[in-house]
């Protein structure tokens, strides 16, 4: 197995509120993401999935443990890691056109190269020619595709996705999943997806990690041996898909019951 591009070792995150309250969100999470691998983290709500992703991306430092990227300790955000957030309507800058939003992620490049990279990225997500539009002129699905283009324009080694399709309708969601699956198959980045949707995790991933309730740790790992390329109309009807989904779901419910037993 090749060396991991992203590694989390015994990561724990404790959040302290302004009122002095302290919450241990996760405890001792370890995972390794191989180059070009697609890994999902699922878990009951409140398991600290987003917090974990912020730690994995360098947006916040873990309280305990260590994150390393490319074999080096990750202490801050850095080039090579891109993040797509859940709320695309807040994450795209509304005062910039779609093209400028995407270009923000490639601003270190000379103008000519930047322009062609932006055009390429928009073409990849089927937003060709939409660069001069403003985010509010686009539908939710198009906005999230623009956010994907911005994340990919820099050619990241790891793409992190935080519930990226949670705020779009079911049909758009399926289409966006296929956009991601397709981009991932055609490019060379590793993906780390955080979601509460077990079907989505199984559909997209090579491996699914199930998070326990707070303070979370990884309580199960399920390898997804479904054939690729995956397509909504085909893959989700496979007997194997249904089995894997049921298996992961069982772990998630077990984790959810754990949290119900502990109280809020």
């Amino acid at each position: 197995m090749p060396e991991a591009v992203l590694q989390m070792s015994h990561v724990g995150v404790t959040l302290s509120g302004q009122d002095g309250s302290v919450v241990e969100v996760s405890r001792d999470v370890s995972l390794a993401l191989a180059p070009r691998e697609f890994v999902s983290i699922v878990g009951p709500s409140g398991a600290g999935k987003t917090t974990l992703l912020r730690a994995a991306s360098g947006l916040r430092r873990p309280t305990t443990g260590e994150v390393s990227f490319d074999g080096e300790p990750l202490t801050d955000v850095r080039a090579g890691i891109s993040v797509v957030f859940q709320e695309y309507n807040k994450s795209l800058f509304p005062w910039m056109s779609i093209g400028k939003n995407v270009a923000m992620a490639a601003r270190h490049l000379p103008a000519a190269e930047r322009a062609s990279r932006v055009a390429d990225a928009l073409r990849l997500v089927a937003l060709e020619g939409m660069g001069s539009r403003y985010p509010w002129e686009l539908s939710g699905g198009m906005q999230q595709r623009a956010a994907l283009a911005r994340a990919l324009v820099s050619g990241p080694r790891v793409l992190m996705l935080d519930e990226p399709f949670a705020s779009v309708d079911a049909l758009t969601r399926g289409l966006l999943e296929d956009v991601v699956a397709d981009l991932w198959e055609r490019s060379s980045f590793a993906a780390l997806l955080v979601t509460h949707d077990v079907g989505e995790a199984v559909y997209l991933s090579d491996r699914v990690l199930v998070l326990s309730a707070r303070p979370s740790r990884i309580m199960a790992e399920v390898t997804i041996d479904l054939p690729r390329p995956r397509r909504q109309t085909h893959t989700r009807r496979l007997q194997r898909f249904v089995e894997l989904e049921a298996e992961v779901l069982e772990f998630v419910y077990k984790a959810g019951r754990g949290s119900a037993g502990q109280g809020s």
Binding site: F85, K90, P94
Partner: protein, 266 residues
């Protein structure tokens, strides 16, 4: 189709615009009537006040008092905006300066401005510098407080996005935070403009040495009643012009926001 649909909208706008001016006309007429019916030497008619105001705008008063006032407002407002936005962004973004400046800011903000004029007179003497200083001491707060509150209350995802794009420090503040909070900054600036004008007049009355406030005070002291009314009219005109220019700038700079809040115009 489009022409037909566009027409009523345009006519409605013209209608609203006419209605606004008609309201002003009615007010002027009421003033005219009340003044001519009262036959009081203390209340000039609108026509004579307006004629006097025109005389102010075209005569030597323009360069002696009016232009200095405009310059003071511009400089005072400009300094207030620069300080208010810069300090507001820093204080809003970084938590520790916010905590140790909050009490100081609250203290100075709640000082009544006229109270500062005697102090400013001692520090700067009579004249423009004193007036500008007093304007800044009052107009900086709405800008600073609005900017700081908006920055501190910004959606964390905006900052996370910018950081994950590799932006940090001054560039993060200038390229993402500043535009993100610009609607609230504009709201603060608009308040600052009217505060600047109000403070200008008070400061000039108490020790401007020149200016529109000084002129109005002088006219009143020397029983030039029509003159002081005319001065007030000119001041109204100044305020209206400042506000109109401001709205025009806002509409241009915040054009992206009309789509975001979902309104836009037809």
């Amino acid at each position: 189709m489009i022409a037909l649909a566009g027409r009523p909208v345009r006519w409605r706008r013209v209608g609203l615009w006419l209605l606004g001016w008609a309201g002003l006309g009615v007010a002027a007429l009421a003033w005219q009537l009340a003044a001519s019916l009262s036959h009081s030497a203390l209340v000039p008619t609108f026509a004579s006040a307006a004629a006097y105001a025109w005389h102010l705008l075209t005569g030597p008063v323009l360069s002696a008092d009016l232009l200095p006032s405009v310059a003071r407002v511009l400089v005072g407002f400009g300094i207030s905006a620069a300080i208010g936005i810069t300090v507001g962004l820093l204080v809003g973004y970084y938590r520790s300066p916010r905590e140790w400046t909050a009490a100081v800011f609250d203290f100075f903000r709640s000082l009544p401005t006229p109270l500062l004029i005697p102090v400013a007179l001692v520090l700067f003497g009579l004249g423009g510098t004193m007036v500008v200083a007093v304007i800044v001491s009052a107009a900086v707060w709405p800008v600073l407080i609005n900017t700081a509150n908006a920055t501190a209350g910004l959606e964390p995802i905006v900052v996370d996005t910018a950081r994950s794009l590799g932006l940090r420090g001054p560039r993060l503040l200038a390229r993402v935070i500043l535009p993100a909070v610009s609607p609230q900054i504009f709201a603060g600036l608009r308040v600052a403009i009217s505060v600047s004008l109000a403070v200008l007049v008070v400061a000039e009355i108490l020790g401007g040495g020149s200016g529109i406030g000084y002129y109005i005070e002088n006219a009143q002291q020397s029983f030039q009643i029509t003159g002081s009314y005319a001065g007030v009219l000119v001041l109204c005109l100044l305020g209206w012009m400042a506000d109109s220019l401001f709205l025009l700038a806002e509409r241009r700079l915040l054009a992206w926001q009309r789509g975001v809040v979902g309104g836009g115009d037809a």
